[in-house]
């Protein structure tokens, strides 16, 4: 899922300082689960921001901000507001802005990564959406997102005691890959040299899109 965290309160205040009626749009999906932009966080934020003065706040929580089906019911509230403070991921914020052409929409979160919850209050990155998944070769551990140098052919010289050279609280992806392939009795996979990859399937190829004729609705 998409992991995000709330922006510093002063940054948010700066974004909305020129407006009187503020619609805080939470999102009921990923950011609810990662405790950054759900209904609860939106209400807390509204409370905190109203301490300051004469701004008015309303909170709405569509099931998903990245889906037009769920946005329609908020048209009226958006009409009321001077600005929408979106607590969705970057997709939701942009989708809101596209739908409400004349309404300023500002982000309340920093969208961080695709990852998972490891422990109470602890999330880690798992996938970078590189568009050409290599997990079969690496025992199901992603070298693109989880190795700090995106190495494909083994660990750099900074891997020590299972940790990455950049910081002792980051696991070295290649230690994890090694341990896992060893336990699967598949170490021979590590002898294969993976050639330079085609990054055009990643962000490097420009904004990406997927078209699926098989699911497209035919005209006529």
């Amino acid at each position: 899922m998409i992991i995000a965290s709330q922006k510093p309160i002063d940054e948010i205040k700066e974004y909305i300082k020129d407006y009187k009626k503020i619609l805080i749009a939470a999102c009921g999906t990923c950011v609810t689960v990662c405790l950054a932009g759900g209904e609860k966080e939106a209400r807390e934020l509204a409370e905190l921001l109203s301490l300051d003065g004469d701004q008015e706040f309303r909170v709405v929580t569509p099931e998903r901000q990245c889906d037009s089906e769920f946005l329609a019911e908020f048209d009226e509230n958006v009409g009321w507001a001077d600005v929408v403070l979106s607590l969705a991921c970057g997709v939701g914020v942009q989708y809101m802005a596209e739908r409400y052409v004349k309404k300023p929409v500002v982000p309340g979160l920093n969208t961080s990564f695709m990852g998972t919850n490891r422990d109470a209050g602890y999330w880690t990155e798992m996938c970078q959406g590189c568009g050409n998944c290599v997990l079969e070769k690496t025992g199901g551990i992603c070298p693109v997102a989880r190795c700090s140098k995106s190495h494909f052919n083994g660990p750099c010289g900074g891997s020590a005691d299972g940790k990455c050279e950049i910081d002792p609280s980051t696991d070295c992806a290649w230690q994890l890959i090694y341990d896992r392939l060893k336990s699967l009795d598949q170490l021979e996979k590590l002898y294969e040299t993976i050639p330079p990859r085609d990054w055009s399937t990643s962000r490097d190829g420009g904004p990406r899109k997927i078209r699926r004729p098989d699911v497209a609705i035919e005209e006529g």
Partner: protein
């Protein structure tokens, strides 16, 4: 036009015990700095690496540094990391390096930018070090770039890389070294050795795998200038500095002298290890000491080629 084959390569091929050094380029555009460092090493070592923004500290480029060193009669080894350049820039810069008379290249991953003064920088890592070795070897052997297009005048570098005997997981590090050599690495410089017992054990494995027969292996050593410098080295990920060495430095009346003693003892042991073809001496910030170390280690005069 410089010779096709570097002096370094010819010395290895002649079976000499090679000595290389290292020049850290200046944090500025200062010519004198590199010229002076090179003059101090001339005749003392066979070739000098010029580092590529080592530990991600912004400095003069390695290729420019090698060129300056070569002006003073010290053959250079250009370093090239995968951190700052994509496949286009790496190949392009190395075409230029060859055209300018540079013959040795050391290809490596590069320290992550979070170590340096620009942790805000975007890194590249378009290719990794195994892949970049293969790219440069294919260019040499087949005259083709990675994209398959033919190069007009393909560079034929003597290709080196690094290995860290003290990094984890040990077996996977050896597999990776094997891949680097298979990809085309001809010489290997190891991470600096303080824990010589552990290094000897690692070399046993290297011999078991036969890697010392497929590439020339140079053992790396650092001459630390102070107690503080050893203490800092001990904290670097992937470095293995036994406490006993730090203690010896702390207790020494003259830490500089003790540091030289320690290095000389390590070199003595290194010289006896089967499969080692040379020594790589680093003394960043204390280059003046290198001649004394090489001399005391009985490695002078340096061999010449006819």
């Amino acid at each position: 036009m410089a010779e096709e084959k570097s002096k370094l390569q010819r010395l290895f091929e002649a079976g000499e015990f090679v000595v290389t050094g290292e020049i850290g380029p200046p944090r500025g555009a200062d010519v004198e700095h590199v010229h002076k460092a090179a003059e101090g090493l001339r005749g003392v070592i066979d070739a000098a690496n010029v580092t590529d923004n080592q530990t991600s500290i912004l400095r003069m480029s390695s290729i420019a540094g090698v060129l300056l060193a070569q002006q003073k009669g010290v053959e250079g080894v250009a370093q090239m990391t995968c951190r700052d350049r994509n496949r286009i820039a790496i190949q392009s810069d190395l075409l230029g390096a060859w055209a300018l008379g540079i013959r040795n290249v050391l290809l490596l991953s590069g320290d992550h930018q979070s170590f340096g003064n620009d942790p805000q920088a975007k890194n590249v890592y378009d290719v990794d070090s195994v892949q970049v070795i293969k790219i440069m070897a294919d260019l040499k052997n087949e005259g083709r770039f990675l994209n398959g297009k033919k190069a007009k005048t393909a560079p034929k570098f003597f290709i080196g890389t690094t290995a860290n005997p003290f990094a984890d997981p040990e077996e996977l590090q050896l597999i990776r070294l094997k891949k680097k050599i298979k990809a085309g690495a001809q010489f290997v410089q190891t991470q600096s050795i303080y824990d010589i017992d552990r290094f000897e054990r690692w070399m046993e494995k290297v011999r078991e795998w036969g890697l010392h027969k497929e590439a020339y292996i140079e053992a790396g050593v650092i001459v630390n200038k102070s107690v503080r410098s050893v203490e800092v080295t001990q904290t670097v990920p992937g470095m293995s500095v036994p406490d006993s060495i730090v203690e010896r430095m702390r207790k020494a009346k003259d830490p500089k002298e003790e540091s030289v003693n320690i290095v000389l003892e390590i070199i003595e042991r290194i010289k006896k290890i089967e499969g080692i073809s040379g020594l790589h001496i680093m003394a960043i910030g204390w280059e003046e000491i290198v001649p004394e170390v090489v001399k005391s280690a009985g490695l002078l005069p340096r061999p010449t080629l006819n």
